[in-house]
Symmetry: C2
Subunit: 463 residues, 2 copies
């Protein structure tokens, strides 16, 4: 076994001393992910910041030969503890320097480095009248590599789909150090297995993505924001299903529950309907002439379910005010209690009301305060389990765990968009079954026989 | 090694004598696929027609233990020799009886058996105001299992995407006989690897699909058909790129070259512009008020590229007449020469003109007649290499092979929608590289260690 000094010397010879972090104060930062989870107890040997796929490939081959773990990472903004070292014998490969963005308007694609910030890609595309639709809440600071690694969702996915629908190809460094290029700029391509989609959402456990080809679409011409409030939370959930099956496909359909509405109103003084049990924040987009007809359909559907307020933003400023209420959700919740456990389960859209009902039942059972918001049009709930003490935190964790099992019983999934990471690894056998997890482990072993790539992620400690 | 009689007895005990074919005249039929390729020289031991996933699982476990090959199949309408026995020690599992269709309008999904005919699924969805968009030319007789196995494309994919975009889950029998269920009715789901997308397009080589959950969307409210003719074939190809980047996304954009236009006109007397070098058949859909604006954008783009005819169908009957010209393509071509080799390559959309030009150059070089049509908005060309003798057929095969290599050089793919099958297996290393094909073989071996599932397909004779 090589010493840590040997490892540092070899990696420095690949990426250059100037592109390697080894000071303890730097390394500690890389033991954290977003989301408030505890950091890894393991310091990595180093953080490498490569500039090319070839450098990544040389590091992979070296680490594979010496059984050194690799954690691919860029912004560390994952919410499921996706990218931290599992042991002291690990290196972090940070893709932050590989952040190029090249828009190709002739093929409606973009070639981007995994370290590119998603918001920068959206902006570059918009300069050509094009749109990269996926918009995870983190898009202003998360990287596309992480978005692809977790198949990140977001607000507009209800109409436009998640990240995976926009990944048409990628360059990947395998554990062996081989560089492969899957897919490309062709709109249709069925030559061989769809490795592009296999790597998408694999959270750095099957290969290290070093370049991504993204599909772009024309920017919608116009959009309109709508806020609907309901007295009963379950009617709001029913309205979501009813709207989704009405023929209108909103580009956004967010859901906020009363605790959250009140917290946001306290925080923003935006004039929200604080007596409502829940509200929906909806956007429709498309040709300008279609916006009013779409809004009218939504109004009719909501009227039948006893809405108490229906507000269409008449100006962009008013719409911005409305979206501010959505974005203020998490900061506002910081005032509800000292701490909060979150999550990202989803259910089939006709089970949304049941899932929300179950959340409050579970909260009651464990005697803790709960709330929820979410990308309701996708059946994707973000539950909140609040706590004010270490003791209550343990209770909140138990409540969340029970809620996850209930979600699985409804035909739901414990992760809709954050990835399994380490946080949801305990649930995968329950959701997918032994045989399916066995097939996934077999694939992992086939592509990464020494288990050097992000070990512990998805499968837990003994993949 | 069990005798064929032993195999027949065991399979009969699983599916019942009445659901098993063993007569030579029946078995011979199952050595053929569509597309005019030579049949397999190998007769299967039997054809089993199971009724449940459990029966399929029992057969898989038995075949795996005894190293008997399994060819999953239903309509045999694949065009790349996808589903034929590779050896005498094979059984065919035909999914024809597993053809149930259950539409779930509340979740915008359908649960279907792999043997269900795609047209029947479309019809059942339409009864609920819903749409299953993928429409391979074979959709009136091909099965959804085959469509999923090849990630079939079709006309409307230019706007709605290929089959894979609509597969949200599936039940699969693994080579081991284990039954797994990947994905489901959730719109978003990132728990574990995306096996659903790995099985989609894997042509029966990784598992046997026994049930499929399909995503449905609201039926578009209205549509309009347009025919545009160009003097020069390359201007038509340029118009395709220009339309695709204009902001309008047509729901169909088909391309036909002069040889084909004339053959179709001879056959249908539809009044086609026979002096045009090429024509585009376009459909736009959506809210009724948006159709004229979309058509106007297309007209403006085509005017700049020297169109010689622009015709908008004013009635559904006129539109039907227009689509008849598209569907008559292959039967009409039967009159051009005694035989024809086809294909389904694709290129990035800005290379379409270059690909068409290259096709005619290759035809000239080999002294054979060529033509093409295709799903132009996807960059997907269906080339035709004509022959009138066995000698010319060999020349046509050489020309096609050279064309495939040129497609790869352009960043294209040898298969956009028919699958690799056995026909395109010789090209995959050239297109994907040794390392990528190696990764695919490793996955194949991980999930099917005895190589019993459709051996010979995708990887050629020695997978």
């Amino acid at each position: 076994m090589l010493t840590k000094e040997d490892v540092r010397a070899r990696i420095a010879s690949i990426v250059g001393e100037q592109n390697m972090l080894t000071k303890q104060e730097d390394l500690v930062c890389y033991t954290y992910n977003a989301g408030g989870a505890a950091p890894s107890p393991h310091l990595p040997i180093l953080v490498a910041l490569p500039g090319t796929a070839e450098e990544v490939a040389q590091m992979a081959a070296f680490c594979n030969a010496n059984k050194i773990s690799i954690v691919p990472r860029s912004q560390g903004s994952g919410l499921s503890v996706n990218a931290i070292p599992e042991s002291d014998y690990s290196i972090i490969i940070s893709m932050q320097r590989m952040n190029s963005i090249v828009i190709d308007p002739e093929t409606l694609t973009a070639e981007v480095g995994p370290g590119a910030i998603t918001a920068d890609i959206k902006k570059a595309a918009a300069e050509h009248g094009l749109m990269y639709p996926p918009d995870p809440a983190s898009f202003t600071f998360s990287s596309i590599g992480g978005n692809v690694g977790t198949d990140a969702g977001g607000l507009q996915c209800v109409k436009y789909g998640t990240t995976k629908g926009y990944v048409s190809g990628m360059q990947v460094v395998l554990a062996s150090g081989d560089i492969i290029r899957c897919g490309g700029k062709c709109i249709k391509d069925v030559t061989g297995y769809n490795l592009t989609q296999l790597f998408t959402g694999s959270e750095g456990t099957l290969g290290i993505i070093t370049e991504i080809t993204l599909k772009l679409i024309p920017l919608p011409q116009a959009k309109r924001a709508i806020r609907v409030a309901f007295k009963e939370i379950e009617n709001a959930a029913k309205a979501v299903s009813a709207i989704m099956t009405s023929g209108v496909v909103p580009s956004i359909m967010e859901f906020q529950e009363q605790t959250l509405i009140r917290a946001v109103e306290d925080y923003t003084h935006a004039g929200l309907p604080v007596d409502a049990g829940a509200m929906l924040l909806i956007e429709v987009d498309g040709d300008p002439s279609t916006l009013k007809p779409q809004a009218d359909v939504i109004r009719r559907v909501c009227e039948q379910l006893g809405m108490v307020d229906f507000h269409v933003a008449e100006t962009p400023e008013e719409a911005e005010q409305l979206w501010k209420a959505r974005r203020s959700g998490l900061p506002a919740l910081a005032r509800v209690a000292k701490g909060r456990l979150g999550g990202d389960p989803a259910v089939p859209i006709n089970k949304l009301a049941q899932a929300v009902h179950t959340l409050f039942e579970v909260g009651k059972k464990y005697g803790i305060k709960v709330s929820c918001q979410g990308h309701a049009g996708d059946g994707n709930i973000h539950p909140h389990f609040f706590f004010n003490s270490d003791e209550e935190k343990k209770t909140a964790a138990k409540a969340r765990s029970e809620f996850h099992y209930e979600i699985i019983k409804m035909g739901g999934t414990v992760s809709a968009e954050h990835g399994v990471g380490r946080e949801k690894a305990p649930y995968i056998v329950k959701q997918l079954g032994e045989a399916q997890v066995g097939a996934m482990r077999a694939i992992k072993k086939a592509l990464d026989p020494n288990n050097i790539l992000n070990p512990g992620c998805i499968f837990g400690g003994e993949a």
